[in-house]
């Protein structure tokens, strides 16, 4: 059962502030969805390996050319052009032309 305290803790981890109204709504929704998710516990998965990626399974079946997992994903480690500096800064909400600017991090 998710509590008010859990909602505050998770909001903090997720860098969300949330209004009182949003917190109340999320408390209700998280409990409803997690209650539904709990049906996964009907299954005994003791001997089942977690599956994080589809590609790792494709290798098992030899469906890709890699002989080891993700072998095909490797490419030569060679320098290539990257985004020019001014392009990378173009969308910045605040910048001094060289760096991104943010509110002061260290208080004296």
């Amino acid at each position: 059962m998710v509590t008010d305290k859990d909602v505050s803790y998770v909001a903090d981890l997720a860098h969300l502030e949330l209004t009182e109204h949003e917190r109340a709504r999320l408390l209700k929704d998280l409990n409803s969805v997690l209650g539904y998710i709990d049906r996964l516990n009907e299954l005994d998965t003791t001997n089942v390996e977690p599956m994080a990626q589809v590609a790792s399974r494709l290798d098992e079946g030899g469906a890709t050319s890699g002989t080891e997992g993700f072998a095909y994903a490797m490419r030569a480690d060679e320098p290539r052009p990257s985004l020019p500096h001014d392009e990378a800064l173009r969308n910045a909400p605040a910048s001094d032309g060289v760096f991104f600017k943010v509110p002061k991090v260290i208080e004296r």
């Binding site: 998280l30 299954l43 390996e49 599956m51 494709l58 890709t64 050319s65 095909y72 910045a92």
Partner: protein, 479 residues
């Protein structure tokens, strides 16, 4: 020229045979968009300058009598989750309302290299999270078949432009059904290829292990022609598979006699609208008449698909969306005094309710003490769900199901109940979890005239089989 009837093939042929020019086609589509899209809301941004430049390039080739590329002059639309250089790219979110992408997604480059002309960027649920397009940070999309209803989601705009005739073809992304479900609701064809078949480079990430890129079209053949240009290994996406790309037209029109078609009992149970059931059963009858062997099968873990999906997808989303913090791009909230306060206020103001809900759920299932119980547990069940399909495909060549439990619902109908909304994807999430290809094709209508979709699933990289079966049903239902 009646542009409503144009297909991928006929648009290119019209330009090739000088019945029209690419520029005239672009003009005609923008006129139609100006006149009709206001009531639908499918487009978020039009990229006219870029479209006319590309059209001029195609027309110059045609004038010289040079060979035209395979999609020359075909007007298409691109879901606003794909980066388009120098064009606003929002992912349907206010937090990216001012974002101008500095590069093109791989599929965008490939389609333009093939001569396709991008008319604009289509509306979608924010960060592709939703099943109705009502979570767009800008405005909802109305279903062109019945404007009081949703077009489905999250690629609602990309499905609606095909139904409305405001683009010939389009692309979308599908993390739990976001191509197939809106295709079913709008009565068009939508194809989600195998995981790794199409590069995700330049696709704004929602849940990376579940995100797929695919085409929409008026016909099975149109989606095959689009996929042909989109598919293939590309090193900028490390999960892009090194598997040869077949000719996707080869199997289209081949007889289906003797194919074994699996019909999973779990997809025809409680909660399935009777009209959807009878429409899909009629489609299956057509396959039987064409000589397919109809094989009842079981996918016993199906009922765990939605809970598995909402753990895996939200966990990955909470991680992927951590980047939206108001530092490098996007809209920053002004009043933050400290860095942490700036982050929080930016995210509070920029994200909509559903995105916050999923970030919270995903953060919760990854947090200390719950990681094993929820996240690892769901990954284990994901393997069981994938093994359901492995077993089934030893017995059958393709699997046929309804795409959705009901036809398109009314705008506003499910907005207050997230769980009810999540269940709209109950038949589509399994293919994302397993990474297998799936397509939705129109399969009759309800008494009210609402489109119904049939889903065809195939083995990894067996898009040719999916297209072959899809075409057979399409052909039989039309005749």
């Amino acid at each position: 020229m009646n542009i409503d009837l144009l297909t991928v093939d006929s648009a290119r042929t019209a330009v090739l045979e000088k019945q029209t020019t690419a520029t005239a086609l672009v003009d005609a589509f923008y006129n139609k968009i100006d006149a009709e899209d206001g009531a639908i809301g499918a487009y978020l941004t039009l990229c006219k300058e870029r479209a006319y430049q590309l059209a001029a390039r195609v027309d110059a080739l045609a004038d010289k009598g040079d060979a035209l590329p395979p999609l020359a002059g075909v007007p298409i639309a691109v879901k606003d989750v794909f980066a388009t250089k120098d064009v606003r790219t929002t992912a349907g979110s206010k937090i990216l309302a001012n974002f101008i992408a500095p590069y093109d997604a791989t599929v965008v480059t490939r389609l333009e290299d093939a001569g396709a002309i991008i008319l604009g960027k289509t509306n979608c649920d924010e960060f592709a999270m939703g099943s109705s397009n009502e979570n767009s940070g800008f405005h909802p999309v109305h279903n062109p078949r019945d404007r009081s209803r949703v077009p489905g989601g999250s690629s609602g705009g990309s499905a609606a432009v095909i139904a409305a005739g405001t683009a010939v073809a389009s692309i979308g992304s599908d993390t739990g059904g976001s191509i197939r479900q809106p295709a079913a609701f709008c009565g068009v064809v939508g194809l989600k290829p195998t995981y790794g078949r199409v590069s995700r480079y330049g696709l704004i990430a929602f849940a990376s292990s579940l995100d797929h890129v695919g085409p929409f079209g008026k016909s099975v053949k149109d989606t095959a022609l689009m996929l042909q240009q989109m598919a293939g290994r590309e090193p900028l996406d490390s999960t892009s598979a090194d598997v040869p790309v077949p000719n996707y037209l080869d199997q289209i029109g081949q007889p289906v006699r003797g194919l074994r078609i699996g019909v999973p009992e779990e997809y025809f149970g409680e909660g399935l609208d009777p009209e959807v059931r009878s429409a899909v059963e009629a489609g299956i009858q057509e396959l039987a008449k064409a000589g397919c062997e109809i094989v009842p099968i079981s996918l016993p873990y199906s009922k765990y698909a939605i809970p598995t999906y909402y753990v895996v997808a939200t966990a990955e989303a909470s991680s992927n969306l951590a980047r939206y913090d108001g530092v490098r791009y996007g809209v920053r909230a002004r009043e933050g005094k400290t860095l942490a306060e700036m982050y929080r206020r930016t995210r509070d103001a920029g994200f909509g309710a559903e995105v916050k809900r999923r970030i919270m759920l995903g953060t919760y299932v990854l947090s200390a003490g719950y990681y094993d119980a929820y996240y690892l547990k769901a990954q284990r069940v994901r393997r069981l769900l994938a093994s359901d399909f492995d077993r089934a495909f030893t017995k059958v060549d393709a699997i046929v199901t309804p795409t959705t439990p009901t036809p398109a619902f009314k705008l506003g109908e499910k907005m207050d109940d997230p769980l009810a909304m999540y269940l709209a994807d109950i038949f589509t999430v399994t293919a994302n979890l397993a990474g297998i290809p799936g397509m939705s094709i129109p399969c009759g209508k309800s008494r009210e005239g609402l489109p119904i979709g049939m889903q065809i699933l195939g083995k990894h990289f067996d898009e040719p089989m999916v297209l072959r079966v899809g075409h057979a049903v399409e052909h039989a239902m039309a005749g």
